[in-house]
């Protein structure tokens, strides 16, 4: 134990010194990169901010150890504590410490409530589903946070400042510090030490670690795992609240969903280095990451490279970590979300009512799609076009995550690659042909996706999701500021084939609709061809697929490339749609949101992706912001509670029910449709079914003698 502690301390100090040296030494000597020498005060500020990130990161680690999920609501759990406290202090003149106490208590209680009411319902669900549920919870909490001022006082708006009574300050190394900073530096180590003590020395801490290792076994030994989970979530909520309250005076209100996922990305980076396991390592990593971030920020003079840093850190940390089996998320099966969508059974495919039904349904959907721009106003039509583009990106996500099994929280960033490249070309002084631009954009997207795909060869499951999220954050804040992605002016909509002017909303909508249909067809063909089968095989059982000759690297990279291409083309279309484009259009939280959208729609099928885009984006567009947050948040939680397969599951359940009636009416025995029904609900009478069943039981094979090896 002591040896490990000494080793850890040594690594930390080395890192610390290295970063300081970079700040001091390199700064000023590389004018293109770091233009100024970093003053000492920045180092201290980095440590302070790092302490705050560390608290957040530790909350993430605690939740991961207990529930094996990435808690996207970690920032939100406590964010409203700060908002509440600020309201109480500023508007109602409540004494500062009392208000803070109230906020903390409220956060702890609400976290416990969330665990009891929501998280506990998903104990048996795949971890991915629960992770997406936390995205929904983050949205609900965000809505609550926005509503707090209005609840307490009808027409209030959110506070912008958070005054603490700690007014003294000092100056160190060129930076002005206040009492708030000192408080952070004192409280945080105390809290961390307390947590470590709790986990290692108390009964409940022990129980938490046991339950994290093997929940069922812990239950069999009488460990109250539900209570333990409740306690851990309450602690996480308290940590989050503490973070929010301590950081609000320093950085303002910008946590969680309302502030994008940048803070969460930093915390995730630290957690990844700590393997989502060790609290001290996580905290140390958080300190170093923030330190490096501050150095980069100050040294380079602008924000951007620091996000690239986080991405690089996460990537490297995940790549070099040794796999310890059974502890970290490796297999896709632990997160695989849904029952596989079954195709129409072979026995029924030829029947006329099934054929007409399928074509009829497709025709109806197409007709509805075409009618839209003729009944909506142009601005609404523009929104509808937006929805279609989201659906296209969603389809790319289905290919990558649904079929390929690679979690991607960065799909919108890939769309951004395509969009900004297309915009760069189209708005330049020498715009290319429309389709050529699309092709180039698509290729750029595929290339970017391949870059992410390479680490995906080693990183899987939730951790790939973390990596892609870091990529999305880095892209939105840094990579997209490169020259290649600069869109100098307005983008002209093309004259299609020389005759069709799509500059008005209606025509452009129809163009995008055509593209969506093409994408759907392409995706369907991909799924039905060898590529699709091979993808799914790799997802389900990699080793078995490899042993059957499926080339691992090529298959995985092909999935990324195809997905990246489609997403980028959709992004390029988005560029032509918006006609103006800046990197701010592609923030990370849209990627996360897109992911949850597709999970709601149904990750296993393209139909689900389209449904998800229509429903969720529809809610967003046609409701005011707070209600849409609430709506999508609750929607996510409730839908996934009852239908983990999303809206697509509902759709396919209805389809299967119809197919069953057709089969019954025709007297056709379709084993794949009735195999999932319990015997007592299936009516057996004088049909072929009964006869077949009778046949089988009459001619049952004799049981085989099984002997152990070696005896006669």
């Amino acid at each position: 134990m002591l040896k490990r502690a000494a080793l850890g301390a040594g690594v930390f100090l080395t890192g610390f010194v290295a970063i300081v040296l970079v700040g001091k030494g390199v700064g000023g000597y590389l004018p293109n990169f770091m233009s100024s020498v970093v003053p000492n005060g920045i180092f201290l500020q980095g440590l302070v901010l790092g302490a705050l990130n560390g608290l957040l990161a530790i909350g993430l680690v605690l939740i991961y150890r207990t529930n094996r999920i990435i808690n996207f609501a970690q920032g939100e759990l406590g964010a409203f504590a700060a908002t509440l406290a600020a309201e109480l202090v500023q508007r109602y003149r409540v004494p500062f410490y009392a208000a803070v106490a109230v906020g903390l208590v409220a956060a702890v209680l609400s976290s416990a409530l969330i665990e009891f009411a929501i998280i506990r319902r998903f104990t048996k669900a795949p971890r991915l589903i629960l992770t997406v549920v936390t995205i929904g919870v983050a949205q609900i909490l965000g809505a609550v946070e926005l509503a707090i001022p209005a609840l307490l006082n009808k027409n209030a708006k959110m506070q912008t400042g958070f005054q603490t009574p700690l007014s003294f300050g000092f100056n160190y190394g060129g930076v002005q510090f206040r009492g708030d900073h000192i408080v952070v530096m004192i409280i945080t180590p105390v809290v961390i030490a307390g947590l470590v003590w709790f986990m290692r020395r108390t009964g409940y801490g022990l129980a938490a670690r046991a339950a994290a290792d093997d929940r069922d076994r812990a239950r069999l030994l009488g460990v109250p795992v539900k209570r333990v989970s409740l306690i851990v979530w309450s602690i996480a909520g308290g940590l989050s609240a503490l973070t929010a309250v301590l950081s609000a005076p320093i950085t303002g209100f910008q946590f969680g969903a309302l502030g994008g996922y940048t803070l969460l990305a930093y915390a995730l980076g630290a957690a990844v280095i700590g393997r989502f396991e060790s609290l001290p390592i996580t905290f140390g990593a958080a300190l170093l990451i923030s330190l490096a971030q501050q150095v980069l920020f100050f040294g380079t003079g602008h924000s951007g490279p620091d996000f690239g840093l986080v991405f690089a850190v996460i990537l490297v940390a995940l790549l070099i970590q040794r796999r310890r089996t059974g502890r970290l998320e490796t297999g896709a099966s632990t997160w695989q979300a849904v029952e596989e969508v079954r195709p129409v059974p072979r026995e029924l495919r030829r029947l006329p009512e099934v054929r007409y039904g399928r074509w009829g349904l497709a025709g109806l959907a197409l007709a509805l799609g075409v009618v839209v721009p003729f009944v909506l106003t142009p601005s609404r039509t523009s929104l509808a076009t937006d929805i279609l583009i989201y659906a296209m990106v969603g389809i790319s996500l289905v290919i990558l995550t649904g079929w390929g099994g690679h979690l991607s929280f960065g799909q919108w960033a890939l769309a951004g690659v395509g969009g900004l490249v297309a915009g760069h070309i189209a708005a330049s002084s020498n715009p290319q042909d429309f389709f050529v631009t699309l092709l180039i954009a698509g290729a750029a997207g595929a290339a970017a996706a391949l870059l992410i795909g390479i680490p995906a060869l080693r990183i899987q499951g939730l951790f790939l999701g973390v990596t892609t999220l870091a990529f999305a954050v880095a892209a939105g804040n840094w990579i997209f500021s490169f020259g290649l992605f600069n869109v100098p002016g307005a983008i002209q909509r093309p004259l299609m084939f020389g005759v069709w002017d799509v500059s008005n909303e209606r025509s452009f909508y129809l163009l995008i609709l055509a593209f969506l249909v093409v994408t759907l067809v392409v995706a369907r063909n991909l799924r039905n061809a060898r590529m699709g089968r091979v993808l799914v095989a790799m997802r389900d059982n990699e080793k078995a697929a490899q042993s059957l000759g499926v080339p691992r690297v090529r298959t995985k990279l092909a999935a990324f490339a195809a997905s990246g291409f489609i997403a980028a083309v959709a992004g390029a279309l988005y560029a032509y749609h918006q006609q103006q484009l800046t990197p701010e259009r592609f923030p990370a939280d849209l990627s996360v949101f897109l992911f949850s959208m597709i999970v709601i729609g149904g990750m296993g099928s393209t139909t689900g992706a389209v449904l998800g885009a229509i429903v969720i984006r529809g809610i967003q567009y046609f409701l005011p912001y707070e209600f849409s947050l609430l709506g999508t948040g609750f929607g996510v939680v409730l839908l996934l509670l009852f239908f983990p397969g999303g809206l697509g599951q509902l759709f396919y359940m209805a389809r299967d029910a119809l197919l069953r009636t057709v089969a019954e009416r025709r007297g056709v025995l379709v084993p794949s449709l009735v195999a999932d029904r319990k015997a007592d609900t299936v009516e057996l009478d004088d049909t072929a079914v009964a006869r077949a069943a009778a046949d089988l039981t009459e001619h049952a094979p004799e049981p085989e003698l099984v002997t152990t090896g070696g005896q006669s």
Binding site: G203, L206, A207, R209, A210, A212, D213, D214, D216, R217, A218, R219, L220, L221, G222, V223, P224, V225, G326, R327, D676, R677, K678, A679, D680, T681, P703, E704, L705, V706, T707, T708, Q711
Partner: protein, 707 residues
């Protein structure tokens, strides 16, 4: 099978007295007819309590416009007031149901009546909106008792055959109360003021409370099953969480609760909307409104009466049929409401109102009958109150989504409830499939537990574990089919079978890791069906799972610590036990501070057994002790098992290998494909070639003393 159509032996009666000649006798005759000859006094008492409580509720409804004006409320605010009242009161419903299953119900009935009366009186005096809210809450609480405790009491006073008509009669009290209530309240309000209408109510209610103290004693489930008395005397009450789980495990109840949501949204707003509608659109004064609502209540009464009889006929066709009846009646309310809400003149509106009430009345008896049938007797009260929560959820949903509509246009407000009637009707119609199996299950559990208790009291050698008729499914695939198992106290039982026979599933079901769909499990005299693993561990039932039974990231010391912490034994006992374990397994002492993941397979099993040893179980279930271990190690482990057995622990040993099991145990159970194929002494098992054909058996026949 339950035959609910059997009528008791015919009783030769004299000609029933005529209502005008002998009113009391006629009334008594009506009640006795409803109870099919049993003592009518309980029904009468509960009937009248409910009757007078209903006065108050009806008065509040019919006088809505006056009350609204007195406190300056909008329509929406008024319904919100009702909703808030309901939320808080029904929030008390679940604890009430919980206590209803534990406390003497008679006392609750009396207390409820007194509270209702006092707060009725207070409503008449309410000086402010806040006071009104509080007093309504108090009254609502008292009335709540009627809805939850009365049906439970009635179920136990009267046989299943008599229940449809008994419930119908009891519900009639509500109908009669909602006839007389609005009329009297409306007239009184018209004559003096709405407040007086409430003030006078306290007199009859308190009178009934006094009479209620004379109710005869009753035992839970006594009409379902004679032996229920035995059970009730012995059993611990059901904890709330477990009770809720038991309820939600009943499929029919899930459908009925879902229907409650729709019904809450459909029905509850109407109590305010209908009087408002008639006052606003047709300008009816309070007295006339009273008569109108009274007439509606008459129509509902007729509906309920007919429904009671129809239910009896339908239930003969199948236990699920009444739910269909309830569904159809809900569906039929929709069109009637449509007519009423958009009626061009008063006559049509009244016709629609009467039709809606009539059809709506059809819904109660079948719905409640089915709910009482499928709810396990021990949680029947909880079932009724838990269902009310869903009503409130429905109302809140409605208020959020549609609440504002009534303020603009009361007709549209009424119309907005119509879709929910349809939804509720469809849900009930669809939910009828499961009633038969759920009822059979509820009855069989009752019978089984009573039988097991009796057997336990009689038997010389007590069984530590009794498993009867257990069915387990993983999703739609059933894996255990009616498994019966008996473990005598102090014996070692071998549970044998090949892969996939269901042995591990059975152990997990007994521990509580996996839910059971049918059957009962008794441990040391207590019903542990549906108990969580943590709870059964605390009772002394410990399972040692096959394979990974240790916590890899914890050290050996911490692994043992977990077993200690959860078992909550006195520290000196525990320290001694830990020392004993380390003595038994020196390897563990050597690796005391190392993470358990570095232990070899055999050492891990030692650690797992050590954990079990520390917790000093009454029954130890070991799943595949020998899997993947060298025989020498297995021998060492078996020695520990023998030691545990010697100190009083009963053991169930699950094995694929017959050899290992036979060296220890005298009795064996053989499972195949989820069923028990053989139970008996192990020597007999070896003679059964037909069973052992599929099992590793070579060498067993050469065991010493085996043949």
């Amino acid at each position: 099978m339950i035959d609910l159509t059997a009528t008791p032996a015919a009783v030769t009666e004299p000609d029933p007295p005529r209502p005008w000649a002998d009113p009391v006798g006629w009334l008594r005759g009506r009640f006795t007819a409803a109870t099919l000859g049993a003592l009518a006094f309980p029904l009468v008492v509960l009937f009248f309590i409910y009757f007078f409580d209903e006065f108050d509720t009806a008065a509040f409804g019919v006088l809505a416009p006056e009350i609204k004006n007195a406190f300056h409320l909008t329509d929406r605010a008024f319904v919100n007031l009702i909703a808030l009242n309901l939320v808080i009161v029904l929030g008390a419903a679940v604890p009430l149901g919980y206590y209803g299953d534990r406390l003497p119900r008679k006392r609750l009935v009396v207390a409820g009546a007194v509270i209702a009366g006092v707060f009725s009186f207070a409503t008449g005096l309410a000086p402010s909106l806040l006071a009104l809210v509080l007093f309504r809450m108090g009254n609502g609480f008292g009335v709540l008792v009627n809805g939850t405790i009365h049906p439970s009491l009635l179920s136990d006073y009267y046989r299943p055959q008599a229940r449809p008509t008994t419930f119908a009669m009891h519900n009639n009290s509500q109908r009669w109360g909602s006839i007389a209530g609005p009329v009297i309240a409306g007239v009184v309000a018209w004559l003096s003021s709405w407040r007086v209408a409430f003030l006078i109510l306290i007199v009859p209610i308190l009178a009934m409370a006094i009479v209620a103290t004379r109710l005869p004693k009753v035992v839970r489930g006594q009409s379902d099953n004679e032996d229920a008395a035995v059970i009730a005397a012995d059993e611990r009450p059901v904890p709330l969480g477990r009770g809720v789980r038991m309820l939600l495990a009943v499929k029919t109840l899930r459908w009925q609760f879902a229907a409650y949501v729709a019904i809450g949204a459909a029905f509850l707003p109407l109590s305010a909307y209908v009087p408002l509608y008639f006052q606003r659109v047709f300008h009816i004064n309070s007295a006339d409104r009273g008569f109108l609502l009274g007439a509606g209540a008459v129509a509902a009464l007729v509906g309920v009466q007919m429904s009671g009889r129809v239910t009896r006929t339908w239930i003969a066709k199948g236990l699920g049929e009444p739910l269909k009846l309830a569904g159809y009646s809900l569906l039929a309310v929709g069109p009637c409401l449509l007519v009423m809400a958009f009626a061009p003149n008063l006559v049509i509106a009244v016709v629609g109102l009467l039709a809606a009430y009539f059809v709506g009345g059809f819904y109660y008896p079948p719905f409640l009958t089915v709910q009482a049938l499928v709810s396990p007797a021990r949680v029947r009260t909880l079932s009724l109150s838990f269902g009310l929560l869903f009503l409130v959820a429905g109302l809140i949903t409605f208020q959020i989504v549609f609440g504002a509509i009534a303020d603009h246009n009361i007709r549209n407000g009424l119309g907005a409830t119509i879709p929910f009637w349809f939804i509720g009707g469809f849900i009930l119609r669809a939910g009828h499939r499961f009633v038969t199996s759920d009822t059979e299950h509820a009855f069989s559990v009752l019978a089984t537990t009573a039988e097991m208790r009796k057997a336990r009291l009689e038997m010389a050698q007590r069984s530590i574990l009794s498993v009867r008729g257990v069915d387990v499914s993983y999703g739609p695939v059933q894996v255990l089919f009616g498994v019966d198992l008996e473990v005598a106290e102090g014996e070692i039982l071998a549970l044998l079978g090949t892969n996939g026979a269901g042995k591990s599933t059975l152990l997990r079901a007994i521990s509580g890791l996996v839910p059971i769909h049918g059957g009962a499990i008794f441990f040391d005299g207590e019903d542990i069906t549906g108990l969580e693993p943590e709870e059964s561990f605390a009772l002394g039932l410990v399972q040692v799972p096959g394979g990974k039974g240790i916590f890899p990231s914890l050290t050996v010391a911490e692994n043992l610590e977990v077993a200690v912490w959860a078992s909550r034994r006195p520290p000196d006992e525990v320290a001694a036990a830990r020392e004993e374990v380390l003595d038994l397994f020196p390897a563990l002492r050597r690796r005391y501070d190392q993470p358990a993941a570095v232990l070899s397979g055999g050492e891990q099993q030692m650690l797992t057994l050590g954990q079990a040893f520390i917790s000093k179980p009454k029954l130890l279930m070991i799943d595949e002790l020998s899997l993947g271990l060298a025989p020498v190690v297995v021998e060492e482990l078996l020695g520990v098992v023998r030691r545990l057995h010697a100190s009083g622990t009963s053991v169930v040993l699950v094995e694929q290998s017959v050899n290992v099991a036979l060296t220890l145990s005298t009795r064996a159970v053989f499972m195949e494909k989820g069923e028990v194929r053989f139970t008996g002494p192990t020597a007999e098992l070896l003679d059964r070639d037909d069973i052992l054909r599929a099992v590793f058996l070579t060498g067993a026949t050469t065991l010493e003393g085996a043949k």
